[in-house]
């Protein structure tokens, strides 16, 4: 018997295991909904404050922020007080007056790689990352008593203005610096299309709309998980509701290679 024989024999297993493995992947939807709710709640707060703040502040006050900064000053949540103990990973943190939401987290070998890219300590447990603007992304490092390290990314995805895809995917997420991929190496065309696309807001997607996720691995060991919506729409996993439209032909190739999330 060879390893190929064994792999082939696994193909003949009882169909109940095949069906179970296909249908029992309910968790990502729940996780997605959790973050979607969180992001939606933040956006509601942001929008409400964007409307309310100009009324509250004096019109001749020179410190009235621009549209861009109104949003980021909105959430009046003292999150840092709740970050204790450090081994519990918070879903929101504040830094420099902004609210950042937890996004991807990394452990084990992945964390070890990313650890090398934490360039400076901003506050206790919070780090700036090489190549990323700390106004957008910071990282937190959690060390367990057994030495295991978890690195969690926090991103400021609220109170921001997005026009073109590049505003998020290139300027902030630095997606152009992708590294070696698991299943695909030629991403330039796809990423160029995303960067050039116009951002649109889509309220709620119908249940019947097919959506998938596609993961792009970066040179620094981080990953960017894209939400692909049937029809050529590409979004960022951690910012649900906002998408760029890209040409169908380019979209299709990556959609086929991506993962169902429903």
């Amino acid at each position: 018997m060879t390893e190929h024989d064994l792999l082939e024999s696994i193909g003949e297993i009882n169909e109940k295991y095949i069906n179970n493995a296909q249908t029992n992947t309910v968790l990502p939807v729940k996780r997605y909904l959790k973050w979607a709710s969180l992001a939606a709640a933040l956006l509601v707060v942001t929008v409400s404050a964007a409307i309310a703040l100009p009324r509250l502040l004096s019109p001749d006050n020179k410190s009235v922020p621009s549209t861009r900064t109104v949003g980021v000053n909105v959430p009046e949540i003292s999150i840092s007080d709740t970050v204790s103990p450090l081994s519990v990973i918070p879903s929101l943190v504040s830094y420099n007056g902004y609210v950042y939401t937890a996004c991807e987290s990394y452990i084990g070998q992945e964390a070890q790689i990313i650890d090398q890219f934490l360039v400076s300590s901003l506050e206790e447990g919070k780090y700036a990352l090489m190549s990323y603007d700390p106004d957008f992304r910071i990282a937190m490092r959690f060390e367990e008593t057994d030495g295991a390290v978890t690195i969690c990314m926090y991103e400021r995805l609220n109170g921001i203005r997005l026009c073109k895809g590049k505003d998020l995917f290139n300027t902030r997420l630095c997606m152009n610096t992708y590294g070696k991929q698991d299943i695909e190496t030629e991403l330039n065309n796809f990423i160029d299309s995303i960067n050039a696309g116009d951002f649109i807001h889509m309220e709620e997607l119908k249940d019947s709309v097919s959506r998938r996720q596609y993961c792009i691995y970066m040179t620094d060991g981080t990953r960017v998980v894209l939400d692909l919506i049937e029809g050529g729409y590409v979004g960022y996993k951690w910012l649900p509701g906002y998408y760029v439209k890209i040409p169908e032909k380019t979209f299709k190739k990556y959609y086929e290679a991506s993962e169902d999330i429903e």
């Binding site: 018997m1 060879t2 390893e3 190929h4 024989d5 064994l6 792999l7 082939e8 024999s9 696994i10 193909g11 003949e12 297993i13 009882n14 169909e15 295991y17 095949i18 069906n19 179970n20 493995a21 296909q22 029992n24 992947t25 968790l27 990502p28 729940k30 996780r31 452990i107 084990g108 070998q109 992945e110 698991d182 299943i183 695909e184 996720q213 993961c215 990953r223 998980v225 190739k253 086929e256 290679a257 993962e259």
Partner: protein, 186 residues
Amino acid sequence: MDDNKIVELYLSRNEEAIRQTATKYGSRLRRIAYRVLNSIETAEECENDTYHEAWNLIPPHEPRTYLFAFVGRIVRNIALNVCKKNNAQKRYAVYCELTQEMQECLPAKNDPEGAVNADFLRGMIDEFLESCPEEQQNVFVRRYWYFDSVPQIAAAYGFTQSKVKTMLFRMRAALKEHLEKGGYEI
């Protein structure tokens, strides 16, 4: 269209059966092949070969309640055979990874040249999976039947990647032990 009706179409030699199978399961089949082949064109060829093979196998088979598993097995085998044929060139990284992992499961007293009692081996694997908790069954099947990568499995079940890796490592060791205890002999 439900599986039973699609199978009826195959049985009545209606070519609509292939169109319906492609509509319902095409992308899933393509994806299984793509994961191990990493080429959209070759994956599409495997998918088309699968429909042809299904057309030849139904009848006598009547997979009314398990059509996806049935065609999935076919595409999986076709894709694996493509990899096996080209393995000398080491073109397929995922296949190399999978076979390396499978090496860990081979019984110590194994004769690589020996013929395989496929039915017996399948029974042993089923028995092994039955003895595992459902969570482990799913992870194992996602990795070695659907050819998902560790990050994909972790994302699908909400586990950390290290948990998935550990789970698979332990399951491979347990499968090896199971094959040895079950007296798998060539």
